[in-house]
């Protein structure tokens, strides 16, 4: 599903070695936390996995797409097999909740009927029924993030990638969101979550990959920040 082999990535502008000969594998159906201190390279890994940036060295493959050699023109097709969630939600301000989710289906060329059936279903799944007509600024942070989750889900991606999805949420809302992602995982989608929140990670008994200075320092099912132990 996700495979990184010996991947190195240097930001030209700062000269930072953001990932250092890093290798990791994630199988279909897994739920994985990616943890590490600030600046350790977590967001860089996410960007490499979504094709936003290219590695200098090594091989990356996601959902069967070889990202090392992928052409720019093929990127949209690849991205449609992914669902991505960010800390700052990234909703379109002037679209309603419904339209923010529906437009992702228009992107893949879904029919009117499919859209009319699928959008209400995912909005219900993330607990947003009754909020369809609201604009993002008329929602709480937790609700906005659930719109982003609904958008990430709506095209039935095989993999959901979330970069600090709880960064702007209070602890109760963070737990709620994590439970939602777990539910989605149980429905069959692979989930990769980057987070800083130790308590949250400890509350789930999942695989945790810890990185530091662009290298993996621990990878296991212990359910806590291994590098702190």
């Amino acid at each position: 599903m996700v495979s990184m082999k010996d991947v190195s990535m240097v930001y030209k502008t700062s000269g930072t070695l953001a990932t250092d000969h890093l290798s990791l594998n994630i199988d279909e159906g897994e739920f994985v936390f990616l943890v590490g201190p600030s600046g350790s390279g977590k967001t860089t890994i996410i960007k490499l996995l979504t094709g936003e940036i290219k590695a200098n060295e090594g091989e990356i493959s996601v959902n069967g797409f070889d990202l090392t050699h992928i052409r720019r023109r093929r990127l949209p097709k690849f991205r449609r097999t992914l669902g991505v969630i960010f800390q700052d939600f990234r909703l379109i301000d002037d679209k309603t909740v419904y339209d923010n989710v529906a437009f992702a289906m228009h992107v893949v060329g879904a029919s009117k009927r499919e859209i009319r059936e699928r959008v209400p279903y995912v909005l219900k799944l993330v607990g947003l029924e009754g909020r369809e007509k609201r604009l993002p600024q008329e929602l709480s942070g937790g609700e906005q993030q659930r719109v982003a989750v609904a958008r990430a889900l709506v095209n039935r991606p095989r993999l959901i990638i979330a970069d600090e999805p709880t960064g702007n949420l209070d602890p109760a809302k963070s737990l709620e969101l994590m439970l939602l992602l777990q539910k989605i995982n149980e429905l069959g989608t692979t989930v990769l979550v980057v987070t800083h929140e130790k308590e949250l990670v400890n509350a789930f008994a999942k695989r945790v990959i810890s990185i530091e200075n662009g290298s993996i320092v621990s990878d296991g099912m212990d359910g806590y920040y291994a590098y702190e132990a």
């Binding site: 936003e52 949209p76 060329g109």
Partner: protein
């Protein structure tokens, strides 16, 4: 493209005009302003050009027929004159007619009354197509058998030509400068208008939208705003021009010059305004978002 998606994208483009109402308004205003300024200058130079054409038409040359020829022979030369290149019209004036009008001009003067009506020569009044070729044409005419002399006011012709050339050059330069300035201003307006959409475009890319999918609504939006700007500018220009020329014709100048009626230019003006508006809208919006599509 699937029909559903096609209509969705058109709808998105139209919606976007309203959701970015202020920027739409600003873009249309800029297009209207630039078009009106350029249009006004073009109209001014068009009018000057047509006035000079009128003056050229008034400028005639005279070809005097040799005295020995009979009236019939003199009249026969007409067809040969018409065949000379650059000659647009040829009118025969008999020596009697010429003498009558000469006398009429000096009405109070009785000195000429006793002269015979054969004092003057038969002549042809000739108008030219292109005044700048007056010298060669005059020579060509002089070379014709039976023509004794050619009278052309070369000085006046040269002056008219010089004025026309200067005015053409000046208006071309001014319109070119205005065009460059307009393109610059519009480019900046469109950049400003699309800057706020950077985030939106990044989100669309992340969800897997192709460049064409992202560009389409922008181009629809640019097209509509451009056409709107062109149309509004056209009607304002029309009103402005009619008002100004009406005011102008009411003054003394009205007795001297003739302005071109806007109604004659209606269709080409509308086509040009809409065309430029459309071009600016489509071109501007697709160029402006190109930068954001590289993510």
């Amino acid at each position: 493209m699937k029909l559903n998606r096609f209509f969705y994208l058109i709808k998105e483009g139209i919606k976007s005009i309203f959701t970015h109402g202020f920027m739409s308004f600003a873009s249309v205003t800029i297009i209207v302003a630039c078009l009106i300024i350029m249009g006004s200058f073009s109209l001014l130079s068009f009018n000057i050009d047509s006035m000079i054409s009128d003056m050229e038409q008034d400028n005639e040359i005279l070809a005097f027929v040799e005295d020995e020829l009979s009236d019939e022979e003199a009249m026969a030369i007409g067809t040969r004159l018409e065949a000379v290149s650059n000659v647009s019209s040829v009118t025969f004036v008999t020596r009697q007619e010429a003498f009558e009008s000469f006398k009429a001009e000096y009405d109070d003067d009785t000195r000429f009354d006793d002269l015979p009506d054969t004092t003057l020569r038969h002549r042809y009044v000739i108008h030219l197509e292109d005044l700048s070729l007056v010298e060669t044409t005059a020579q060509d005419i002089k070379a014709i058998n039976g023509i004794a002399d050619v009278g052309a006011e070369l000085e006046i012709s040269r002056a008219i030509i010089t004025i026309r050339n200067i005015i053409s050059l000046v208006s071309f330069v001014i319109i070119a400068i205005l065009f460059v300035v307009s393109v610059f201003i519009m480019n900046n307006t469109i950049k400003l208008a699309t800057y706020s959409r950077k985030e939106e475009i990044a989100i669309m890319k992340m969800v897997g939208a192709s460049n064409a999918f992202i560009r389409f609504p922008f181009v629809v939006e640019g097209m509509i705003l451009g056409l709107l700007g062109g149309g509004v500018a056209f009607f304002i220009e029309w009103g402005l021009y009619s008002l100004l020329t009406e005011k102008l014709m009411a003054t003394i100048i009205g007795g001297i010059v003739n302005v071109v009626a806007f109604e004659i230019l209606l269709i080409p003006m509308l086509a040009i305004f809409l065309g430029i508006g459309l071009l600016v809208g489509v071109f501007g919006s697709s160029v402006a978002i190109r930068n954001y599509l590289k993510i």
